[in-house]
Symmetry: D2
Subunit: 255 residues, 4 copies
């Protein structure tokens, strides 16, 4: 009953997975299964369009997962727009995760290019999920033009540094009218739980699972972490106190 | 198969619960059940020894939980020792959680008094679980004299401030030959997960569950958080990187 | 000899002050003096253009300070551009601190509007100092179009939350070709020192001084903090070690 | 007029320096001078007692500094007590910095052994400055038996990890009746400032200066940092706000 709704579709799982960096297709599929995820993102550039050889599309049972093509590799708004159109033309999906990333060292998204690409794609009828830095005003402006989510980063892609943008994500959530998906930087399960406790609607995780010692076990840890954080958020946490507070009354001690 | 062993007994759950501060016995029992815990701690001073009226001992189905009496309220080693002896004489248990807390504002444990009480109680054959500040040398000395665990605090009792002693707990775990139970200060599920990811063997939680908006749901969140953290620890997390690292190869983009 | 150069001018002090929120003109002037600052920012909207009554411009001895008009209150690029032109037309300065802030609750800057305003103002020959969220790609794009600095925030204006954007500011500095001025959110002297230790060129501080118990003393604290951080940065700090390292050789003890 | 008083002596400087790890006596003396310190600690084991060759005692102009012998290298209370007695017998000082450190990896102090040594030495009339983990109850017990200060660590000796024990040090200061000297772990100037802003009376620093690229410059940075933090503490910092707060009134904008 606690469902996630994006672009008119509903999902039971609040954990989305990426498909890069796995050591094998078997390991990837074991992780997808253990994670309980329903949405899986795929970089369009990893799909070889002209050749008959096996691509990422053939490795995954798409009857079980909702595909979310992404524009990874696009450095400008134009490149992102063209990638999205191609994904739709191929019949993959009219959902698109917009990534506009000009720089290869930090892989941080360009707010100007991302905003431009989203404007075009929303007008063309795409369900647009933009990957952004944790900038609350950018998030506001994107939801105002009609994106289906906002996807702020926790820390740089693939860094595993965890929740380095807590205060900004807190503000984004406070102002959100669309689901907030924390995307990039989560390195371990407690960080996924922390994102959900802030009130995020979902987490998208790739490297932390693919590069764990045991990806399937880490995928399960992430599923548990997301569920733990969501439950804690809905349960309503105790107030944080500056001092201690005895667990039981102080009278009655044996002296 | 991933069992916790303390004092010769084995447990499947790595979450221990306290029994103070619940709004009702029903709420407490619902939380105990939702948590999946097997060890429950009770302050001996909350047991009315002379009177027939209903005490905390009557509220809980002790066929389902292992009782861990504690010396909450003891301000000196002597008081703690006397409380432990009384608990054993009553037939409650020869396990004892040692708390020696001289001060009511911060409720922090006394290292000198705790060490003295533990020395006496270990010699008298108790299974001793000392509650301590996150002091690695104190933890070393306690395990050397034969305590069954060490129980360092995350932050002051009942404060919900979370993991404020991460670096010290990391050292305690690195040096431990007995289970390390993080006790006091955990406020929400991600913090329980974080404790387990550091390599703690268990968490003991009271106020964060009892004072949550919905205690049973928070108890479930804590169970999931402990399991998530344990799985993440065993899976082996990705290395944390100072920079970003692309989730998929950078060639092949649509330009 | 360790000078700060902005827009062709050089400064000895690396601390800039704002002029809002002081309890009196005397208190403000005492703080300006104690801070040793050379650049002082003034909101153009606080200057009453038509009336003869005393404004902020009359309160400060402008022979001692370089004035930096700002566009505080502008919610759009257009409003910011008009404010800058007005400041120049009045003969105040062709320097302009660009603030485009659509929202009154968090007072965070709009990346899209800020970028647009800066493009126009750089082309019109202004020396442009944009106030931005700590977004490394936005900072890159602004310096590429010719802004004289970038001014990322540490945390929301007037919040005193300190350095909440450390990792992003670290990246901004790593990529910078213009001075990086940490602006907004610094609450106390150690935070100014921390900004400088990251390699920032300067700090701009207002509320933390104006709202301190003793503004002049806090102004001096900030001056010392900026100098301390700059010296530490230039001295080159020791490496951070995961373990301890004895201060002196371990042989020779009295046993 | 803002003087530090320890054991009946008053000092203007709130920065104490150690003497280990310098690359040369010249570098050490330049750092001592630049730091403005008045109290300098020396490990007694570094003083060769029987031989005529030059020791650390000959390198420093003791007419300018107050010597504080320490018991570095002592692993037990007995060894610390013997070292203190020897220092007094040599005519060095009846001040003693008590370090009881059983372990060479983390170099953390033993609370039990430290307490025992201090009890003996206070009774023998020494001015006792104990180095301790940041344990508030241990600090309380030590000041109760008559130590002249308490010296909690920020993080492990020589690690440069900075203020990892903030919350515990805050409590120690809240309860202190003697000067609190933050000792060990400070890695850079902002961290010294932060310690002073918490209300510490003084900082003792060694490795962060001795192992800086330019020790004399870092010594100056530390002096400035300590002064900045002390001024900020005395000035009274602004409250930290969860939201933003405009630096100037919001009316009057050019629209």
């Amino acid at each position: 009953s606690d469902l996630l709704t994006i672009g008119g579709k509903t999902f039971r799982s609040r954990l989305m997975l990426g498909t890069g960096k796995y050591r094998s297709a078997e390991e990837m599929n074991a992780a997808l299964e253990a994670s309980g995820c329903e949405i899986v993102t795929v970089a369009l550039r990893r799909i070889d369009l002209d050749q008959p050889k096996r691509s990422i599309l053939d490795e995954i049972d798409w009857t079980k997962y909702h595909i979310l093509p992404n524009t990874a590799g696009a450095r400008t708004a134009d490149e992102a727009v063209r990638t999205a159109r191609l994904a739709r033309a191929m019949g993959l999906s009219d959902w698109i995760k917009v990534e506009v990333i000009p720089d290869a060292k930090y892989l941080l998204p360009d707010p100007i290019g991302t905003f431009e690409a989203c404007k075009v794609l929303v007008e063309e009828g795409f369900v647009v999920l933009p990957y952004i830095n944790a900038d609350p005003v950018l998030a506001l402006r994107l939801q105002e033009i009609g994106t289906a989510t906002v996807m702020p980063l926790a820390s740089p892609i693939g860094s595993g540094q965890g929740m380095k943008t807590v205060e900004q994500i807190r503000i984004i959530i406070d102002q959100a009218t669309v689901p907030v998906v924390v995307d990039a930087g989560i390195g371990t399960a407690s960080e996924a739980a922390q994102a959900m406790e802030l009130g995020a609607s979902s987490c998208l995780i790739n490297t932390a699972i693919a590069r764990a010692g045991d990806p399937a076990r880490m995928a399960r840890a992430m599923r548990l972490g997301v569920d733990a954080g969501r439950d804690a958020y809905l349960a309503g946490r105790m107030p944080t106190l500056p001092y201690a507070s005895a667990s039981s009354p102080l009278e009655g001690i044996v002296r």
